[in-house]
Each structure stands twice: as C-alpha cells, then as structure tokens.
C-alpha cells in the first residue's frame, strides 16, 4: 500500500446502481482522504440522490464496493451521518434532544453526549434555544439542528444533500461559513452534494463533477484557494468557470 492509499478514509470502487434497464450510476470510483471536504456537483437529474442513498447504504448498490478505513461500509459499525435536503427534526424532542439523537443511537455515554451536545450547540449558536421544540424555531435553525446532530456523532463519513438548497442567499453564505468552521474544528470527512457551483467552490477542498445519466465522475478539480475565500478572487472565478463549463448542458 502506498502512503497515499493509507491516508484514504473512503474508497468507492466501481459503484453501480441499476433500476431494471436504467443505469443510474455507472462504475463510480473515487477516494476521499481523512478530514477532507469534498463537494460533488452535477447537472440536474444526474442521480445525486441515488448516489447518496447507495453511499449511505440506505439503498443496496447493484455492483461495486464502498470501503471505510478499508472495511465494507456498514451503518451499524461505522459512523455515517446524512443531512437531508429537508429538515429531519423529531417534533416531540427539544432542540437539544434532537442534536443528541444520533449519539443516542450510537450509544455514546450520557455524560459525553451532553458535553458534545453543549459544545456543538455553542459552535452553531443553538444554545439559546436548546429547550425549545422544533415547531418554535425557524427553518434555518431546523437545518442547523440536523447539521449539528450529524457532526456530533464524529462521523467517519458525513453526507450532505443540498442542505441549504431551500434557504435564501444571505443565510446560505452565513451557514456555509458555519459549516466550514465546524468541519475545521471537528475534523470530519465530508461529502457535500450541491447543484450550486459557487457554493461548491466556496466550501470544498476538491470538487468531483458528475456527468449526465448514466452517471460517472467526469472530472476532479482541486480547489487550493486559501480561506476565507472571496467570490471575486480571480482564482475563485476561474475554478467556478471551469466547473460550469463541465456541467453545462445548454
């Protein structure tokens, strides 16, 4: 094994998903290093959700393997987190209990669970509404609860499916900063799926561009711009342009 391979946290080999005759994922292969934040962009309807569902093991793959630390991925054994497009808060639990829910399933001991919950709620500014119920907080708060819950389990792999897609632009910038901040502090391995190219360039260390169906990885673009990133930085604009060219279908 080379040094590069030993650093690989996630290895996806020949991931294929067919529904009858329809091939949605066609031999997808890539690796993610530990503590890396990778964005995945692709044209609309390229099977991003199918891709995430197979990666998270919600849906069995037709072919191929997903390895975490060299072992076959398994939600029971590995810490996989998934932040869905729509908010997924349990309405009968308070904000704090919602943030702790993932750790509860994972069997994190009470004491540690409380400490991690408090820490993460401080980081994302949820502390002030810890004892409220989800129907008493705003839509952006709901998504932050889901993001906090996902980070709190210290995931081996954190999957995010356009978590900020439904929020307004200003709030998005703010939450993207918050996400980058969380990721740097908590050092998780994140796969962030989005259709927003600017968002991808803003947050990611590397961008994987998907093709149209049957979906393959079309290109891989490293984003080596120092943070905090500026949308008007020529390098930023250059990468954004590159990615746009790759996925344009018009």
């Amino acid at each position: 094994m080379s040094t590069q391979a030993s650093e690989d946290k996630i290895r996806v080999i020949n991931l294929t998903k067919r529904f009858g005759d329809l091939t949605v994922l066609d031999g997808i292969a890539f690796t993610v290093r530990a503590k890396e934040l990778v964005a995945i962009v692709g044209p609309t309807g390229c099977g991003k959700t199918t891709f995430l569902h197979t990666l998270s093991k919600l849906m069995p793959a037709t072919d191929g393997r997903i390895l975490i630390d060299g072992e076959e991925a398994d939600p029971r054994r590995h810490n996989i987190s998934y932040v869905f497009q729509e908010p997924t808060c349990l309405p009968w639990r308070t904000v704090r209990e919602n943030v702790a829910y993932g750790m509860e399933i994972k069997g994190v001991p009470h004491q540690e669970r409380m400490e991690r919950t408090d820490r993460i709620m401080d980081l994302v500014g949820l502390s002030s509404c810890a004892d409220l119920y989800p129907n008493q907080v705003s839509a952006s708060m709901l998504q932050r609860i889901a993001v906090s819950r996902a980070f709190a389990v210290e995931p081996d792999l954190l999957l995010m499916d356009e978590p900020y897609g439904q929020l307004d632009v200003k709030l998005r910038y703010y939450l993207e900063d918050e996400l980058v901040n969380l990721w740097r502090k908590l050092q998780s391995t994140v796969l962030f799926v989005t259709h927003n190219i600017e968002e991808a360039v803003y947050i990611a260390e590397r961008i994987l561009v998907l093709s149209n169906k049957p979906t393959r990885i079309k290109a891989e673009i490293p984003v080596d711009i120092p943070r905090p990133r500026n949308f008007l930085d020529p390098k930023f604009m250059d990468i954004r342009h590159q990615v746009t060219e790759l996925i344009r279908w018009w």
Binding site: S56, K57, L58, D74, P75, R76, R77, I80, S81, Y82, F84, E86, T88, L90, P91, W92, Y101, G102, I105, K106, S128, C129, D131, L132, Y133, N135, Q136, A146, V153, L159
Partner: protein, 264 residues
C-alpha cells in the same frame, strides 16, 4: 426563551350559543308533545322526563333499580370493555404498522372480523359466556378494538419517511425506529382512537344489554319499551347520551393534557 401563550377570549355570543341551541331544542320538543302534534303515548315531553329523572333517583320501580344503579352497571361494562380494547388494539395496531410479520399474520383476520357488526356476536357470546358481565364486556371489546387497531396502524404508517432514513443512516435497529420514531409519530392518531373507540363502545352498550340483563341503561330502555312507557325509554336514551357526552369530554381533556406533552 419563554414561550408565551396567547389567550383569545371568545365573544359573548359564541359562548352563549350552545345554551341557546339546547334550550330551543327542548322548548320545541316540549311544544310538539304538549300541543298534541305528537301524541303523548308515542313521545314523552322533556318536562315529564325530567320529573321521572328526579323520581328515578330514589325510586326503583317499575324496572327494578334506581337510575344510579343502571348507570353504574353500564359504566362498569363499558369501561372494562373499553380498557381491554385499548390494551389489545393499540399495541396490535402499532405493531401491524411497522412489523411486516405482524401485519401479514393479523391483517387478514382483522379485515374479515371488522365488517361484522358487534351485536351479531350476541348469540355466540351467550354460548360462550352465558348472560353475565363477561358477555357484555366481550361485545363492547369487539366494538372498541376496531378503531384502536386502524388508527394506530395508520398513525405508524404516516411516520415521515425521511425521519426513518435519518435514523437508519445512524444505524438504528428496527426496534429503535419503532420505539423512538413510529410510536411518537402515531400518538396523535392513537389519541384520536381513544375518542372514537369510546363512542363505539358506548353506542354498542345498548346492544350488549339486549343480552339478558337486569340492570343497565340499555336495559332501562328495553324495559320502557316493554312497559309501553315512552318516558322511561326517553330517560334511558337521554342518560346514555348525557353520560356518553361527559365521558367524551373527560377523554378530550385527558387527550389535550397528554398531547401538550408532545407539543406538535
């Protein structure tokens, strides 16, 4: 952060409206009988029912028991039957909603039994349990179990699928998902079942008491019929109605208390 409750006072008119409607209804009823439009051998006016009510509080004749005894017998039967139907129906419905094996086993039998009206069980009940309390409780149990099963089943089925997916990605077991997601999601529907089942149980009470009884509100109605006394029949009916409404009100309050705990 405090969550302040906003109190909105209902306007006076809306508050007195229920009393007005009941009052007008009683006056019309009285008038229809007193004026002779409906002969008094067919229907008793409310005033007569009321005097009979006062009498029956202390007078066991002609049907053999005072009103309180009738009501108490009926309440006992209804409550045992109701309690048992909740005890069996809710867990069964919840399990049917989530566990495919339970659904596969229980659903076909349930669907076959469901359309049979509870009073159709009376002859069999007599064979099995004789004519005591057990038989009546059985009829009431059959009546109450149906809405419990259906509501709990539907409640579990309505659990938001993304919540289940979310729990799955964290590696939750089927049992954890059932306990932590499906049951809380189903609670509002289950509480709905409390009301519906109570209504079913209470309305089938009279049917159950057709099964040879010597006390009970249903028995009072049957006796009134046999004696040709419309006032006794109406008193029995009104007692069933009023006590049913009171029970419904109590369950409603309980439901609000319990639901406030899960705040949706």
């Amino acid at each position: 952060m405090a969550y302040e409750e906003v109190v909105v006072k209902k306007p006076l008119l809306l508050r007195i409206l229920p009393f007005v409607s009941v009052g007008v209804f009683l006056l019309l009823w009285e008038w229809v009988v007193v004026s002779g439009i409906v002969p008094s051998v067919l229907l008793a006016p409310p005033s007569k029912v009321f005097t009979l009510f006062i009498d029956k509080l202390s007078e066991p004749n002609p049907d053999g028991a005072v009103l309180a005894v009738h009501a108490w017998t009926s309440l006992q039967e209804a409550f045992i039957g109701y309690g048992l139907s909740l005890l069996v129906g809710i867990p069964l419905g919840l399990a049917m909603g989530w566990f495919k094996i339970v659904e596969g086993l229980a659903r076909p039998v349930f669907e076959l039994i469901r359309p049979i009206p509870p009073i159709a069980w009376i002859p069999l009940t007599v064979f099995w349990f004789g004519i005591g309390l057990t038989g009546k409780v059985f009829i009431i149990w059959i009546a109450g179990i149906v809405p419990c099963v259906i509501n709990s089943y539907v409640g579990v089925r309505m659990t938001q699928p993304t919540l289940i997916q979310m729990a799955r990605t964290y590696g939750a077991t089927d049992w954890q998902i059932f306990r932590q997601l499906c049951i809380p999601s189903a609670l509002p529907m289950v509480f709905g079942a409390l009301q519906i089942a109570l209504a079913y149980c209470w309305t089938n009470l009279v049917g159950a008491e057709l099964l040879a009884a010597d006390t009970g509100l249903g028995y009072l109605i049957t006796m009134g019929g046999r004696l040709g006394r419309p006032d006794i029949v109406v008193l029995g009916m009104v007692s069933v109605g009023i006590s049913g409404a009171i029970l419904g009100f109590i369950i409603d309050c309980l439901e609000k208390k319990l639901l406030a705990g899960i705040r949706r």
